[in-house]
């Protein structure tokens, strides 16, 4: 089951609905070789993502461009949700149960492209520190990049 293939050409909102449906229909645990399991393993699996998220959050808090969005937030919860979200994006055995990205960022101060790209840089720094291979980094970023449409807002 590779629901992400259905993303092509449809809006993210429609895709999220389709994804939820697809996951509901997908009975039982995902077993056997996943097509891109190598990328998930390159991140060190779920444990690797949990460890990565500690440094990612530290970077976001150290970066004056992103700190205002995270310093007063529930960082423990955000880290846990990011682990699920990244794990799912990497086709790992996880299911992100949090809010969709538009709802999750509503009410925050304006988020510009500069803020979004700053977060990408902080994530890249964290992935470098965890020695995630560059090609695996780019596969994750390719999945996350389109989310800018729901995250950025005036």
């Amino acid at each position: 089951m590779r629901p992400h293939l259905m993303f092509t050409g449809i809006s993210l909102r429609a895709a999220v609905t389709a994804l939820t449906l697809a996951l509901t229909l997908c009975v039982g645990p995902v077993d056997g070789a996943r097509a891109d399991d190598a990328t998930f393993q390159a991140f060190g699996g779920k444990a690797g993502l949990q460890s990565l998220m500690e440094d990612f959050m530290a970077n976001l808090l150290a970066d004056s461009r992103t700190r205002p969005f995270f310093e007063k937030a529930n960082q423990t919860r955000i880290k846990a949700q990011l682990v699920d979200q990244f794990c799912q994006a990497l086709e790992g055995p996880c299911h992100y149960k949090g809010l969709d990205m538009a709802s999750a960022h509503k009410g925050l101060p304006p988020i510009t492209r500069e803020h979004f790209n700053a977060l990408v840089e902080d994530l890249q720094d964290a992935m470098d520190k965890h020695q995630v291979p560059f090609t695996a980094q780019n596969k994750l970023l390719a999945k996350l990049a389109p989310l800018h449409r729901d995250i950025e807002h005036p």
Partner: protein
């Protein structure tokens, strides 16, 4: 084009200033991701080395202005080309450029009776506008970033150019570029179509056997080795419109190093083919870009 005669001095100053800027704080300057403003192509536009890309140069995003300056030297067996200039990127939408090229004929100038080291100088003023798309972030879409641009060129050797069969000492190239980063594959692809009358990009004037615009495809493929290294290849088809000398299409293989948002260094190997009376002009290409 008298106004641009001050350009060399002021650019020299800019380059000096740039040397004083510490690259340490680079990660915090400008809203674009590293290297996504491209390097500088021969005529001053953001792109690869030979061909413009649809990206807007500088690290500006909405509400920001980015700027950089470049110096490029191309040395072939019989000739050398120095090119330098500056670029301003506005809000990741508009790119304005100026560049000055000096093509030194070295010994060939003497053989042709022009004098050893005879030099053609060309000033290029360019503009590019991003029309649609985002080459970097729209990873769930096939739509590339699309931009249109123009490069007005004026060569200072009108009399010689007319003597060798060119019809004008100035001209304007127009181009459309489509650029897409296939991030999951770490691959950047650009396709550009140029409408031009230029002979050897304008160094040998404009128009010749005919005075029509020629439609010429160009393209680049670049593979991202890491955040700060990319390697690639380029192709630029050119008109062959002067009766006195054959003109070949250009290729290059390049490596670009972008250690910070303030600096990039590009080296390339470019088999430039025949230029005037000399065949097999295999050239080394070195380009330095500094950003502000």
């Amino acid at each position: 084009m008298r106004a641009y005669s001050l350009l060399p001095a002021s650019l020299g100053g800019l380059l000096l200033l740039a040397g004083l800027v510490s690259p340490a704080a680079a990660n915090d300057t400008g809203g674009k991701l590293l290297a996504t403003g491209g390097v500088t192509q021969l005529e001053g536009a953001a792109g690869g080395g030979l061909t413009p890309w649809a990206v807007i140069g500088g690290y500006d995003t909405a509400g920001q202005v980015g700027a950089n300056a470049f110096y490029t030297r191309v040395q072939s067996g019989s000739y050398s080309l120095n090119s330098y200039g500056a670029l301003v990127g506005i809000a990741n939408r508009v790119e304005l450029t100026v560049a000055r090229q000096s093509f030194n004929t070295e010994d060939v100038g003497g053989l042709l009776g022009l004098g050893k080291g005879y030099t053609f100088n060309q000033t290029i003023v360019g503009a590019k506008v991003r029309l649609a798309g985002d080459a970097v972030l729209e990873q769930d879409s096939w739509l590339p970033q699309i931009a249109v641009g123009a490069q007005y060129k004026h060569n200072d050797q009108g009399a010689v150019l007319r003597a060798i069969g060119a019809r004008h000492d100035g001209g304007t190239d127009f181009y459309v570029s489509a650029t897409k980063l296939f991030l999951a594959q770490s691959l950047l692809v650009d396709a550009t179509v140029r409408f031009t009358k230029a002979n050897q990009i304008g160094i040998l004037g404009f128009g010749g056997k005919d005075d029509s615009y020629h439609v010429e495809p160009e393209g680049s493929v670049a593979y991202l080795l890491s955040r700060d290294f990319l390697i690639g290849a380029e192709y630029r088809k050119k008109p062959d419109n002067l009766a006195i000398a054959h003109e070949d299409d250009w290729y290059d293989l390049f490596v670009a190093w972008v250690p910070t948002k303030n600096i990039s260094v590009t080296v390339a190997f470019a088999p430039l083919g025949n230029i005037v009376i000399r065949d097999h002009q295999n050239a080394a290409y070195l380009s330095l870009q500094v950003g502000f």
